[in-house]
Symmetry: C3
Subunit: 163 residues, 3 copies
């Protein structure tokens, strides 16, 4: 089963991904796209690692996510990967990476992404481009996943998939 | 059937409106409220036109949307119309236009709007006023529509209406 | 029944809370966390008071919400209470207040909160911290409520709870 989990800030996305992947056979993998740019991110990464402890083998990859796909994997998260692509001036490679990512998608994977487009449209063009890119990628991932879940206040709402 | 489609940036709202209106008898109409203020908008308008090609008769109207209503129509979108009303200093006419728009609503129409109120509350008063106005108008439109759809990552989620 | 109502700006949260609490026996209570810092808030408070008129006994409390809980109550709203905690430099007391609030939760209450995390991630650290705190609190409240409702364009969407 391929699952896309989306939702707002602190809506329980990463936690729900762990709950779903709990049923995967061992070894389970966790593909982390985050990089510790500052103290806030360092703390967040440490907190998430502690929550996973030794139940998952962690792979850290900020850019080439298509080269590290494995069965029984969580990838957390797409927005930070996209942020890295823009930050490291690799926007021209986005299509190559996401295209290959979708082509090689394992049959058991939980993909964590984020809703960022339901607030006010930002005034700066870069943020708007980021929002357009992420919205488009989210829709492409949702199309190839068996189920799509929107987290609201920690509660999973099934958007796509059978009960 | 009157349908209101809402959702975030690049969540597939305009595309889903085309899918729903595909079943309308010919001639079908497309009421476009967008104006090409800059290159970004020019590209977006051209892209949407190409997607519709000759399947719809396009009517462009940034302000007086209540004067161009027809059966078998898509209107895309309410937030840009509201933006135009504020931009051209016609806030005092909003009630007249939206009141007449609702009164004359055709029985077959797809109205495209946007969720903008699920992010952080903006610091400037004009943006907050815009958000309050759009939220109120969305709720009034939803009340008179037969179905309301929230797009999440390209997937339509029925909020109102029978299956 | 304990109900949590969330949703965006002007999505009909407060109005739906009144609709739900209409069935409560008299006396009904309304715990208001808002303070009239400016003209905009003064108007909003007056408008909400007029809508309730004499159907509810209003209690105003910006900080110690855990000390005013009663059966058959609406509390409106959690985001403004959290804002007050930060504004009055009482962040260290958040856990005490919300912990006691949850512990003493009446069996008939409607809690109004807000979705603020589905837009772009804000650039300033204080707003991010506020968003993280509110997201976490919303999830804790949702966990102890019997039903959770997401308002979209004035339409209630059941996220948790039986039909």
């Amino acid at each position: 089963m391929r699952t896309l989990i989306t939702g707002g800030i602190k809506s329980g996305k990463s936690h729900h991904a762990l709950v779903l992947a709990e049923s995967y056979p061992i070894p389970r993998y966790f593909l982390a796209t985050a990089q510790a740019f500052d103290e806030e991110m360092r703390e967040k990464i440490a907190r998430h690692k502690a929550e996973r402890n030794d139940r998952f083998i962690t792979i850290e990859e900020p850019i080439a996510i298509h080269e590290h796909l494995k069965e029984n994997m969580i990838i957390d998260c797409i927005p930070l990967w996209l942020n890295n692509m823009l930050y490291y001036c690799r926007e021209s490679e986005i299509e190559t990476v996401i295209g290959a990512f979708i082509e090689r998608l394992p049959s058991n994977i939980v993909i964590v992404t984020n809703e960022i487009g339901m607030g006010f449209v930002p005034v700066d063009a870069l943020t708007r481009r980021y929002g357009n890119l992420l919205g488009t990628i989210n829709a492409r991932l949702a199309a190839v996943c068996d189920q799509v879940i929107l987290m609201v206040a920690g509660i999973p709402l099934k958007i796509k998939g059978t009960e």
